[in-house]
Amino acid sequence: MLNNVSQLPPSLTDVSNTNANLRAFLYGLSGVDQVGADARAAMLATRSIKTSAKLKAIDLAISMIDLTTLEGADTAGKVRALCAKARRPDANEASVPPVAAVCVYGDLANIAKSALIDTQIKVAAVATAFPSGRASLKVKLLDTQEAVANGADEIDMVIDRGAFLAGRYLDVFNEIVAIKNVCGSAHLKVILETGELKTYDNVKRASWLAMLAGADFIKTSTGKVQPAATLPVTLVMLHAIRDFDALTNMRIGMKPAGGIKTTKDAIKYLVLVNETLGEQWLTPKWFRLGASSLLNNLLMQRYRMQTGRYSGADYVTLD
């Protein structure tokens, strides 16, 4: 078995036997009080990260970016340009680290793969009828298999939110297991699309469901639904990861995606990780930021920090 359901401790192996068992488990998790979660996230957002800490945080954030283009208008040329940016984010400054991955649609994964072949930068491909997930399992499996065949190192799948909201938790679970099985060595990121799940209780349950089913990463959003990533939603998911780790000794990665546009935003997410999961997660291996315009903002702030001068839009590249 490639999925890690088999690695779960005995106490968790029965949870997914039936929909009733799975539901009972998910509803047995402690609730999330929305106001309390919002307040905690807002408090952490007041952390003041300055000077040397800020400079380090900027480079860390750059190294964690899944640089993304997910447009209907995407072309090979657009993907190649993005890959060039991923390798060397700042044309004038070689000390800027490369990003973690380039995230594209599965049919363009091969373009990205060949553009990044001599680097450590991963190719991530969205799959499973992204972004809606409204297709048969057969289609989703094929979508995933093709992305993997095209060279994707990482698969960003979406869960079936319709099934989740209808209470068919086992269907959602089994689908993740099936997708994981065709991922091969590719890492699986499971997108919950929290903007459609609405409540933090749902976010917590969906996080557990995905982790139990074998997700390597859990990810907030497709970027196509508002709201996308938010600090409190990320906090709830980080707590779920912490609890899952405590129970299973299995480390799961986290990827907030969508709506993270400024350096300030990015640093808030790093603070969130720092004060929940801690430094072990503060690496691109376990934490990613799904973003596109964020990179330029980080570069401009980096310039400001290093020179004391404000940068301008025309001094970073549009790709």
Binding site: D33, Q34, V35, G36, D38, K198, T199, Y200
Partner: protein
């Protein structure tokens, strides 16, 4: 034809719904306004006062937990019983030298009904829903303070008794009240009204005694939460009692100005916060 010999009532204490004599076995004589002996009245001691506090404390949670509608009906029932005994109270007030006895009994009945109606309205007039600046539902409710000690004023005898008792019990407090030594029989008779009016045992405990002395034990008692000193006329004693009452920060009513203010003396405002979220 000679009228039959009257059967005299034994004037006893009213503790926990029962009519015991004083544990000390002592009594004091009471005369009418003309000096004619009427009865020997049980003379409560500090131990009787202690027993009364125990009864009041035990009765308090259940009385407070009764619905406001229920408490209102029980207080109203007190008025019904008093109405039935109007002649008796008029006679006793006359004995105590009150000229306008009928007027006072009528007023007393009206006053009880006024209090009865407050039981389910206090929460509306003294409570509130508070628009705090944040995602919270916040409301304030009055709750009874607990056990209230009351020194009943001498004048006007029946009205004072009714005002002071009703202001405390209507909201769910329980009471240990000390009848004025000069005219204790009205209180004894009123205890009999209470005993037949569905008021749960222990909600009102009435003691006839040397109230100046017994008030001290109530003022210093740690299980008493509030004290109505409006019946204490000696200002030096009143100061001493207020001083003692501070030992556990009792709520103190120095003067009984009006029923609405007095009722509020025996209420605690409780504010509850809860988040509002999905």
């Amino acid at each position: 034809m000679n009228s039959p010999i009257e059967v005299n009532r034994t004037a006893k204490l009213f503790i926990n719904g029962a009519f015991p004599r004083s544990e000390s076995g002592r009594s004091f004589p009471v005369a009418d306004a003309n000096g004619k002996f009427i009865a020997n009245v049980a003379n409560a001691t500090r131990k009787d006062a202690r027993d009364a506090v125990v009864a009041a404390a035990a009765a308090q949670p259940k009385w407070a937990g009764a619905s406001a509608y229920n408490r209102g009906q029980i207080v109203y029932r007190i008025a019904e019983i008093l109405q039935g005994r109007k002649a008796q109270f008029m006679a006793e007030l006359n004995d105590a030298g009150v000229k306008s006895a009928e007027k006072q009994v009528d007023q007393a009945i009206n006053q009880i009904i006024w209090y009865a109606g407050w039981s389910d309205k206090l929460a509306m007039t003294v409570g509130s829903s508070n628009p705090v600046a944040g995602p919270f539902f916040n409301f304030s409710n009055p709750e009874p303070t607990g056990v209230i000690a009351i020194v009943i004023s001498e004048k006007p005898p029946l009205l004072s008794l009714i005002n002071q008792l009703c202001a405390a019990i209507v909201s769910g407090n329980t009471v240990v009240a000390l009848a004025p030594q000069s005219a204790p029989l009205i209180s004894v008779s009123f205890a009999e009204v209470l005993a037949t009016s569905d008021l749960p045992a222990g909600v009102v405990n009435l003691l006839t005694c040397d109230s100046d002395e017994i008030a001290f034990w109530l003022a210093s008692h740690l299980e008493v939460d509030g004290i109505d000193l409006s019946g204490v006329s000696d200002s030096e004693l009143k100061t001493k009692l207020e001083f003692e009452a501070a030992i556990n920060l009792k709520r103190v009513l120095r003067d009984f100005d009006d029923g609405y203010t007095a009722m509020q003396s025996w209420l605690e405002i409780k504010t509850v916060w809860h988040p509002q979220g999905l």
